[in-house]
Homo-oligomer: 284 residues x 2
């Protein structure tokens, strides 16, 4: 029997961005920290999914019982990096009652009439919830910067605004797990091509995604600035190579498990007299 392949370094350590992270050098096919093949990763995902679901139930129970803590998973990445699949395969393993999912698109007219963090604030997870952002406030320093949608002096200021905002969110009890998902230019091409080959994938195809490919270097620069300027101790970035979807799913599962384990959750104690209630129930 072959020994079960596993993490040689924890995902939290292996994927953590640091001052030396160079976006242009990221190998999107890598599987940092994990020693194993796809079949190993898929098996492990099932097992760890149960751990994640059990922790999430405790978080949810706490939220219903006065514990104010929550998790916010921020998924940010280039088109086709697999944000939707991440939600489906990772978040799909936990109880939908404990999840609040928000996909941020092009801002609506109403949203445009507010500061960029307005719609973000409204979508923050309630106590006991795992909030999932498919795109986020980082769009306001990524696509917005790449395409000069606002003047530079406006987006330049946003890094600090984001750091202050996230600090406040974390201090209110929300652990923020920021995941930067990287796909290679070749893999992106293959994924877009697949969407043009299959009747059940056409709806995922957007001609603008092809246009965006010509801005790749500018996006890399914008992602570099995000990592350089918004990776903080309170709200750290994790760099997740996504050419191998199974690895990306496993990695984010581990990041969530780690964040939940750090809460050191316990089942809420009864806020009633158990013996008294047993008697009341027996007579009811």
């Amino acid at each position: 029997m072959r020994t079960m392949a596993t993490w040689t370094t924890s995902a939290t350590l292996a994927l953590r961005a640091d001052a030396t992270t160079r976006v242009a050098d990221i190998d999107a096919r890598a599987k940092p920290g994990f020693h194993g093949r796809k079949s190993d990763g898929k098996q492990l995902l099932g097992e760890r999914g149960e751990v994640l679901a059990a922790l999430q139930e405790k978080l949810y129970a706490g939220g219903r019982s006065g514990d104010h803590r929550s998790i916010l998973l921020v998924l940010q990445g280039m088109d086709t990096a697999g944000k939707g699949g991440m939600v489906r395969h990772v978040i799909g393993m936990v109880d939908p009652q404990g999840v609040s999912h928000t996909a941020f698109g092009v801002p609506t007219d109403e949203e445009k009439r507010h500061p960029f963090l307005w719609r973000i604030e409204k979508a923050l997870p309630a106590a006991g919830q795992i909030g999932v952002f498919d795109r986020s406030h980082y769009e306001d320093v990524l696509v917005v910067r790449v395409h000069d949608l606002v003047p530079q002096e406006v987006w330049e200021q946003r890094y600090d605004e984001i750091n202050e905002f996230e600090k406040r969110v974390v201090e209110s009890g929300t652990t923020i797990v920021k995941v930067a998902m990287f796909v290679s230019l070749d893999e992106q091409k293959a994924r877009l091509a697949e969407r043009l080959e299959r009747e059940d994938k056409y709806w995922k195809y957007n001609p603008a995604d092809v246009t965006e490919r010509s801005y790749w270097p500018k996006y890399q620069e914008a992602y570099q600035a995000v990592l350089d300027r918004t990776d903080t101790e309170l709200a750290p970035w994790y760099v997740v190579p996504c050419d191998r979807k199974w690895f990306a799913h496993l990695a984010v599962t581990e990041l969530l498990i780690d964040a939940l384990e750090k809460f050191d959750l316990s089942w809420p104690p009864p806020d009633f007299d158990v013996e008294v209630e047993k008697k009341r129930l027996a007579q009811a």
Copy 2:
């Protein structure tokens, strides 16, 4: 080899409320239409869950491509009937991106300053979504009626208001699947007792649930009025016996599949020239 047990009558037909439905006579341990045991039901749930997930993906794809249709699952039932478990086990089988889940509690101060349908309207599913209501506007003619929280002339009027509201919702493209979940008084006692025995269940226990048991006949009367006055062709009620959780989960899975099949969904056609895009992508 034993033949796979299955439905002898479709869930949609077997569970449909009609003018002869008497709430007081409902057998909460029954499994109308289904010929099979728990093990059969659990196996079938897994298989049908895949069918449900595939249909839901098509619904979601449509919603992203201009199809305005959606599903609203209304879960209404006595305490411990298993509304939360229904969400976890049935809705948990589909992609979280396509689900909007709302649990309606005691109205907030803000909600109380609005008509009772205000908070309901706000939570209606967007195009392509499966909306799930854990409790709903029916609380306003159930607990509210049982405990005289508003004068009779107010709640009396709500049945018609609900029918008009639901008519409008259905005509806008939302199929409403209303599920009345019935648990027996004995099974409810057993489920409450379990919550008093297990450290991981205390948080689900609410002393008020025991008090509510003394109102059982009044709740039966209120549920009878709901079925008598709000079961319509456009927004029908299904009566789901819930003492056997596996049956309830299987039944609601079938109701959702049936509602989705009636949409006769197809993959959205491309809104771009596939051959042109293939060339653009090859050069990008």
